[in-house]
């Protein structure tokens, strides 16, 4: 193959076949995908969870991962948040002509590794190559499907007054890493994306505590936006305690320089978990037993004080509204 992706590789002819067999099947191959039929034949039963997401992250390589592993983690996590065991993924690649073949190989290889680690199979896919400038380097879409193992499934509308609000670890790491790498900002302390598949931890959690009320992936818009979505759909108030929010000092420092709020930065390897008060300690114990949840902690309580709103109890004991993010966060003048 050439050292760069050419339009030929998307032609559907021999060049496409070579790309599929020498690259995609090499790293993503499994019995189903290797059959190269027009559609995959799956074995699933019961209530299913399905989710799709498109990944257009810039830069495509960042400390802690790349667009390939991220495309697996993002969709696997979305499916798992429904109390489901993710089983199969699809992937669609839209590649800009001229992308170095080595970059593509790195991305596909890390997608394969991520899928293997998550225990999911990529069973069907698609590759398009578009002229230079039509997309920015590479876009990936993944769709995931899994079997729901709890009834009812966790959902934002199930939060109740008195529930405990837990988070599986530090927040803002991914968002600050992406922004810092994109802008070439050299932070004094190292920041790294938390991108990871959370499904094994989540499956253990819902198996041991089937009455988890809410599981959510605080990706774009961050923790604050996700909690606002939950309070809007449940009509309950979320009271967060500022002192209990886990933010790495290096993330806090980076945010302070740029005028950003870590509560609104994206996460890719953390989840929010809202459980009945009496299950809080057990949930924390399960989360902390897993490396991906070792920094899990309680950050607040659902109440009936300000229905539909997220309230932050500050370090000083004052209270203020924690609103939904309006557009994207932008760095300030002074």
């Amino acid at each position: 193959m050439s050292d760069k992706v050419l339009l030929d590789y998307g032609s559907g002819g021999r060049a496409s076949q070579r790309l599929i067999s020498e690259l995609f099947l090499k790293y993503l191959g499994n019995d189903e995908l290797n059959r190269l039929n027009d559609a995959a034949e799956l074995s699933l039963s019961g209530r299913l969870a399905m989710s799709t997401d498109s990944f257009t992250v810039d830069p495509i390589f960042f400390p802690g991962g790349n667009i390939g592993s991220l495309a697996v983690h993002g969709t696997v996590n979305d499916v798992a948040m429904m109390g489901a065991v993710p089983r199969y993924l699809t992937c669609g690649y839209i590649i800009e002509e001229g992308l170095p073949m080595d970059d593509l190989e790195t991305i596909v290889a890390s997608m394969g590794e991520a899928a293997e680690h998550a225990g999911v199979q990529i069973v069907t896919g698609d590759t398009k190559v578009v002229p230079k400038g039509a997309v920015d380097k590479i876009f990936i879409n993944t769709t995931g499907i899994g079997e729901i193992i709890v009834d009812p499934s966790p959902g934002g509308d199930r939060a109740r007054p008195g529930d405990a609000v837990l988070v599986s670890g530090t927040i803002g790491d991914h968002g600050l890493t992406i922004l810092g790498t994109r802008e070439g900002l050299d932070f004094e302390a190292k920041v790294e994306s938390d991108s990871a598949s959370l499904n094994h931890l989540l499956v253990r959690l819902v198996r041991e505590l089937p009455d988890v009320h809410v599981l959510r992936d605080p990706t774009r818009g961050g923790l604050a936006t996700t909690l606002n979505e939950i309070t809007a759909s449940s009509g309950v108030c979320c009271e967060l305690v500022e002192n209990d929010l886990p933010v790495r000092p290096e993330v806090r420092g980076g945010c302070s320089i740029l005028g950003l709020d870590p509560l609104y930065l994206a996460n890719e390897g953390k989840f929010l978990c809202i459980v009945p008060q009496e299950d809080a300690d057990k949930a924390l114990e399960i989360m902390r037993a897993d490396p991906l949840g070792r920094d899990a902690c309680r950050i607040g309580t659902m109440t009936d004080a300000n229905p539909g709103k997220v309230v932050l109890v500050t370090q000083l004991g004052g209270k203020r509204l924690l609103n939904m993010l309006e557009g994207e966060q932008l760095p300030r003048i002074c």
């Binding site: 740029l258 004991g317 004052g318 209270k319 203020r320 609103n323 760095p331 300030r332």
Partner: protein, 364 residues
């Protein structure tokens, strides 16, 4: 500064102690204005707004650079965005600021304008070098905090022989605006929390008139809760004693003399001119303009841009809010016709504007 040290300025026990002392000493109300938008946000974010005694009335002043950028200035940079061979370089805050007909830089970008958000004015040097066939126009908005860095960038561009960088200079200066407020018969302000960043450049001297000429107190203040509480407590004490002072409580960053080198660079490149403030109007001597020797960098001259007063926005109370005459939730448009997604007036436009802060942080 280490974060451990900063934490000391957030110590809840110490804050409570000062709050109790303030309550005990309060003899009538105190109307204070924090000039700077970053203070407005700090007061809300820390929860201080909900902890201060009710007799202390907190007013947000004209110290948010985005808020006071005049609509005619906004229209000027929006007109430039999208021109052939022009790359607009800006700080992120200006991306959503609306001009005439709901235009903004975000929409201009979607329509094909080349707009680059920069983190430092020095980033424009690289941008200009990388695009030799284009003109990079930096939108120079801000107070004495940002003006010296932009002046420094222009000097560096000259030294490096970069000829395709221009600055659209809309800088404003803070002390002149405070004097305009103090001479306005409608305002009622007992004391000012003075901006930390601006003061780091200009020092204490330019504020002395506040006590000497107008008998009001003013304190240069940092952005942590203890900084703010200490300054308020001090002003209560002076008021009770019938005194007025201007002092510097932010000595860990601000020296009384200011940053002489930065001021020197600023006035080497810029000179004072009359300026229009959004919501307030013309304030004599309150703007900075590029000096004639540097006119090769002047985007206003290059594109023949003039700034003119237009009709007031119907219903919008931002002018009174910026002067501390009204509070954001006293405006009939607040949270109704005017929201951060669809801002009508300047105070809702910027994330550091007082209306935006009320909208975002205040619990009803």
């Amino acid at each position: 500064m280490s974060f451990e040290l900063l934490e000391k300025f957030r110590d809840p026990a110490l804050c409570r102690k000062i709050l109790d002392k303030m309550r005990a000493e309060l003899d009538g109300g105190l109307r204070f204005m924090e000039v700077c938008g970053t203070h407005t946000v700090a007061i809300f974010q820390s929860g201080l707004r909900s902890l201060l005694p009710e007799e202390i009335v907190h007013l947000s002043g004209p110290g948010c650079p985005v808020c006071v950028t005049h609509e005619s200035e906004v229209n000027a940079f929006l007109d430039l965005a999208g021109r052939d061979n022009v790359i607009m370089a800006t700080f992120g805050d200006l991306m959503r600021v609306p001009g005439h007909g709901g235009r903004n830089l975000k929409k201009a970008q979607a329509d094909g304008a080349r707009v680059k958000v920069v983190y430092s004015p020095f980033d424009t040097l690289k941008l200009a070098k990388e695009n030799p066939g284009d003109l990079v126009v930096f939108i120079g908005v801000g107070f004495e905090t940002t003006a010296p860095t932009i002046a420094g960038t222009m000097k560096m561009a000259k030294a490096q022989g970069i000829t395709n960088l221009r600055v659209l200079c809309f800088h404003k200066t803070v002390p002149t605006a405070l004097e305009a407020l103090l001479t306005d018969a409608m305002t009622s302000i007992d004391g000012f929390i003075l901006p930390g960043h601006v003061s780091a450049i200009i020092g204490l001297e330019p504020y002395k008139f506040i006590a000497e000429k107008y008998g009001k107190s003013a304190v240069v203040t940092g952005f942590e809760p203890l900084d703010i509480l200490q300054s308020l407590d001090q002003m209560i004490g002076w008021r009770n004693a019938g005194e007025a002072h201007v002092t510097n409580n932010y000595t860990r960053i601000v020296s009384d003399e200011g940053n002489l080198k930065a001021s020197e660079i600023m006035y080497e490149v810029f000179e004072p001119v009359d300026a229009l403030w959004r919501g307030i109007g013309l304030i004599p001597g309150s703007g900075l303009e590029i000096r004639e020797e540097w006119e090769g960098f002047d985007a206003k001259k290059e594109f023949g841009i003039t700034i003119e007063e237009g009709p007031a926005l119907p219903g919008c109370k931002c002018g009174e809010i910026l002067k501390g005459i009204k509070q954001p939730d006293e405006c009939p448009l607040f949270k109704k016709a005017c929201t951060p997604a669809n801002p009508v007036g300047p105070c809702m436009v910027s994330t550091e504007g007082s209306c935006a802060a009320y909208y975002k942080y205040k619990l009803d």
